[in-house]
C-alpha cells in the first residue's frame, strides 16, 4: 500500500501545526466561531448533539495493522474506547475535546492518516471497492487511481470552496461494490481492446433528491484521468448553484443543464487542461502502482480449512456467509462483521481494533479494509489460516455470520449523535437485528440489504437499500418511512416509497410483516427479497405493511 514520502509527511505536519494554532486562537478568543467553523470542518472536526466529533479519513478504505493500532490508541487516549466506521470509509470519534484534537491529529499523522477534507465543500475522502486488489472479478486494482485522486484533490487550491461537497468513488470491477452511481463522480476501471481506461459516471447522489449517475464518458484513456476530472470539477465549480444549498450538488447541475451540455463543457475545458498536465501525473501514478503490488502469496495445504468446514457447523456457517472468492484460489477474502446482533452497526472497540490488527499482522499480510457497508475486511487470507482466524474472531465477539444478511444493516449515527438528524437510526438497526436473530430467520431470509438514514441527507444510503428506512420528525415525533426496491450495485436504482411512515415502536413490526410477505410470496429460497420485489411489484408488500388499509377496502 501507499507509503508517505517526505513531501506527504511535511505537508501533513505543517497542516496539523496550522490547525493547532487555529484551535489556540479560537480558545483565546482571537477567532470567532464563524471564523473557526470552516477551519475546523476542513480538518474533519464537527460539533454534534452531545460533543465534538472527529472524522478521520481511511482513503479508499485501506489501512495496515499499525494504522489500525493507532486508531485504537486514539480511541483509548482521547475518546471513549471505540470508533464508528462510516459509509464513506471514514472513522468517527464521538467524544473528543477541542483542546485534544491537535494531539489526536498528530498521533494519526505519525502513521500517515489525517482528517483533511472529511467535511466542508471540498472533494471528500476518495472511496473504493473494499475488495480492491483481492477480488476474483476485478479488472484492475482501483486503489492506485484512488490514491492519485487523493493526492490531486488534497488541498487543491481551485477546489476548496466548491458550491457543495464532492464525492468520488472508484471500482475496478464490473460488480460495483463502491456504489459509484451514487457519487458525484463514479469511476470504473476497464480495458477496451487491451487498452486501460475508465468509464466516467457523473451526477449521482442520494440525499433529498436522489439521482443515479449518468455516463459522461464511456471510455477515458488512463492518462487523461486527472485533466478530465479537473475539467468536471471546474465546470461544476462555475456552473453549480450557490444560491440554494439544496440544489448545489453536481447531480442538480447535471439534471438542470442536461448531460449533453455538461459533456460539451467538460470536453472544452479538458482540451485546455490536458496539455498542462504534461505526463507528470502518469509518472507519479506508476510510482503509486508499484506501491500497491500484491503481497507475496504463500502456497500450502488447505486441508485445515476443509476439515473445519466439514466438521464445525459454526465455522461452516461463518465461512458460507463471510468469505468471498479471492483472485488466488488458495486464498479468501474475509469480511469481519462489526454488527453483532444488537450492537451499533460500524462500531468497534479499541480492543477489537487491536485484535483485528493482530490477526492481519499474523495471518493476512498486514492489510485491512473498511467497507462502505461498515464492516472490516481482511483482503488476503490463505485458507489454511481461516479456522484459527475464526476462533480468534469468536473470542473477540467478531465472528457474527451475517454479511449481506438482514442484520448487516447500514445505519447512520442518526439523532443519537448527529446534529442534522431528524430521528434515531441506531436503535432501529439494533432492534431489527435482535428481532430476526430471536426468530432464527436470518439465514432463511438470505441476502437482503436494509439501509437506515436518520434524515433526508441519506448518509445511511436508504434510497439504495432493498429495504430503505428514513427517519423523520413528524409533528415532534419520530416517524419512519419505508422504501422498497433500491439497489446499490451496478444495476443501481432508487427505492420506491411504500406508503405512510411508521412510529418508532411500529417500525420493527412493520419490517417483520414485510419479511413475512416475502417469505410467503417468494418462488423458492433462491429468490432474494429484491428479486421477489422486482417480480411482484409493490402490491403484496404494501398489503403486508398496511393490513388495516386492506381491511378497510374489503
Amino acid at each position: 500500500m501507499y507509503q508517505y514520502n517526505d513531501f506527504d509527511r511535511d505537508f501533513l505536519a505543517e497542516r496539523n501545526a496550522q490547525f493547532r494554532a487555529q484551535v489556540e486562537r479560537r480558545i483565546d478568543g482571537s477567532l470567532t466561531e464563524d471564523e473557526f467553523k470552516p477551519l475546523r470542518l476542513m480538518n474533519g472536526l464537527y460539533l454534534q448533539l452531545h460533543a465534538y466529533m472527529l472524522r478521520v479519513a481511511i482513503p479508499y478504505g485501506t489501512l495496515n495493522a499499525g494504522q489500525m493500532d493507532v486508531l485504537a490508541d486514539v480511541a483509548d487516549k482521547w475518546d471513549k474506547g471505540y470508533g464508528h466506521f462510516t459509509t464513506r470509509q471514514n472513522i468517527q470519534y464521538n467524544w473528543p475535546k477541542l483542546r485534544d484534537v491537535p494531539d489526536m491529529l498528530d498521533a494519526l499523522g505519525e502513521v500517515g492518516m489525517h482528517a483533511i477534507q472529511t467535511s466542508g465543500n471540498t472533494i471528500r475522502n476518495v472511496t473504493a471497492d473494499h475488495f480492491a486488489g483481492a477480488a476474483k472479478d476485478e479488472v484492475a486494482d482501483p486503489r492506485p487511481t484512488a490514491e492519485l485522486l487523493r493526492q490531486w484533490s488534497t488541498d487543491h487550491p481551485e477546489f476548496q470552496f466548491l458550491p457543495r461537497k464532492f464525492k468520488l468513488a472508484v471500482t475496478g470491477s464490473k460488480n460495483d461494490r463502491a456504489v459509484i452511481k451514487a457519487h458525484d463522480i463514479g469511476i470504473r476501471l476497464l480495458t477496451r481492446d487491451g487498452v486501460e481506461g475508465y468509464e466516467i459516471i457523473v451526477g449521482g447522489g442520494l440525499g433529498r433528491t436522489p439521482m443515479i449517475g449518468k455516463v459522461l464518458r464511456e471510455f477515458l484513456p488512463k492518462a487523461d484521468l486527472l485533466p478530465y476530472c479537473e475539467a468536471i470539477v471546474s465546470v461544476y465549480n462555475l456552473l453549480g448553484r450557490r444560491d440554494n444549498k439544496y440544489k448545489a450538488r453536481i447531480k442538480i447541475t447535471v439534471h438542470e443543464n442536461g448531460i449533453e451540455t455538461i459533456r460539451d463543457l467538460v470536453e472544452e475545458r479538458f482540451a485546455l487542461l490536458k496539455p498542462q498536465f504534461g505526463g507528470v501525473d502518469q509518472e507519479m501514478l506508476k510510482g503509486i502502482e508499484a506501491q500497491f503490488a500484491l503481497p507475496e502469496f504463500t502456497t500450502g495445504s488447505v486441508a485445515a480449512f476443509k476439515d473445519a468446514y466439514h466438521n464445525d457447523p459454526v465455522f461452516r456457517s461463518w465461512a458460507d456467509t463471510n468469505l468471498t472468492a479471492h483472485k488466488n484460489d488458495e486464498y479468501s477474502i474475509v469480511s469481519i462483521s462489526i454488527k453483532k446482533h444488537g450492537q451499533t452497526p460500524g462500531d468497534a472497540t479499541s480492543a477489537q481494533m487491536r485484535e483485528m490488527a493482530a490477526i492481519a499482522r499474523e495471518f493476512a499480510h498486514n492489510e485491512l479494509r473498511i467497507s462502505h457497508e461498515q464492516n472490516v475486511i481482511l483482503p488476503h487470507v490463505h485458507k489454511s489460516h481461516l479456522p484459527a482466524i475464526h476462533a480468534r474472531l469468536k473470542a473477540a465477539d467478531l465472528a457474527t455470520a451475517n454479511i449481506g444478511k438482514i442484520s448487516d444493516i447500514i445505519a447512520c449515527p442518526g439523532m443519537d449523535y448527529c446534529a442534522l438528524a431528524t430521528a434515531r437510526s441506531i436503535p432501529v438497526a439494533q432492534q431489527i437485528a435482535t428481532r430476526f436473530d430471536e426468530l432464527k430467520l436470518e439465514h432463511e431470509i438470505g441476502d437482503l440489504k436494509i439501509k437506515i438514514s436518520g434524515c433526508i441527507n441519506a448518509c445511511g444510503h436508504h434510497h439504495v437499500g432493498h429495504i430503505g428506512i428514513l427517519g423523520l420528525d413528524r409533528a415532534g415525533v419520530e416517524n419512519y418511512q419505508i422504501t422498497l426496491g433500491g439497489d446499490h450495485t451496478e444495476t443501481a436504482a432508487v427505492g420506491e416509497r411504500a406508503g405512510p411512515g411508521f412510529a418508532y415502536d411500529e417500525i420493527v413490526p412493520a419490517i417483520e410483516r414485510l419479511i413475512g410477505a416475502y417469505l410467503e410470496h417468494r418462488e423458492n429460497d433462491a429468490e432474494r427479497f429484491i428479486d421477489a420485489y422486482r417480480r411482484l411489484g409493490l402490491a403484496p408488500f404494501k398489503a403486508a405493511l398496511y393490513p388495516e388499509a386492506k381491511a378497510n377496502a374489503a
Binding site: L49, H50, A51, Y52, K80, P96, L98, D416, G476
Partner: protein
C-alpha cells in the same frame, strides 16, 4: 390573537468539551436543564440569547428551546432536546452517565 408564549430555556454547547449546557438565571452555564432559567416572555428570551451569544469564548451555538414545567422543573418538549439532556441511546455515555 397571537399564540401563547411557550416557556423557554437558553441552550448551547460548551466550547471546550462540546457538551450541552443551559443558561441559568444567575448567568452560569449549567450541565443540568433543571438549573436553567425558565423564560416566560419573548423579549426577555431574545435578551438572554444575546447575552449567551456574547460569550463566544465559553459556548457555541446558542439557541432557545421549548420546555414544559413539571412541578416547576423545566422538561424538554421535543425528543431532540430530550436526547440532549441524556446522551445517545446506544451507550451509557454523556450526561446520563456523567450526571448520576
Amino acid at each position: 390573537m397571537s399564540k401563547p408564549f411557550t416557556p423557554k430555556v437558553v441552550t448551547a454547547n460548551a466550547l471546550l468539551e462540546g457538551d450541552v449546557v443551559y443558561l441559568t438565571a444567575d448567568d452560569r452555564w449549567s450541565r443540568l436543564l433543571s438549573e436553567a432559567e425558565v423564560i416566560e416572555d419573548a423579549a426577555h428570551g431574545d435578551l438572554r440569547v444575546l447575552h449567551g451569544s456574547s460569550q463566544a469564548d465559553v459556548v457555541v451555538g446558542v439557541y432557545l428551546i421549548d420546555v414544559a414545567l413539571e412541578d416547576g422543573v423545566p422538561q424538554p418538549t421535543h425528543f431532540r432536546e430530550e436526547f440532549r439532556t441524556r446522551g445517545p441511546s446506544n451507550y451509557n455515555h454523556g450526561k446520563q452517565a456523567e450526571l448520576v
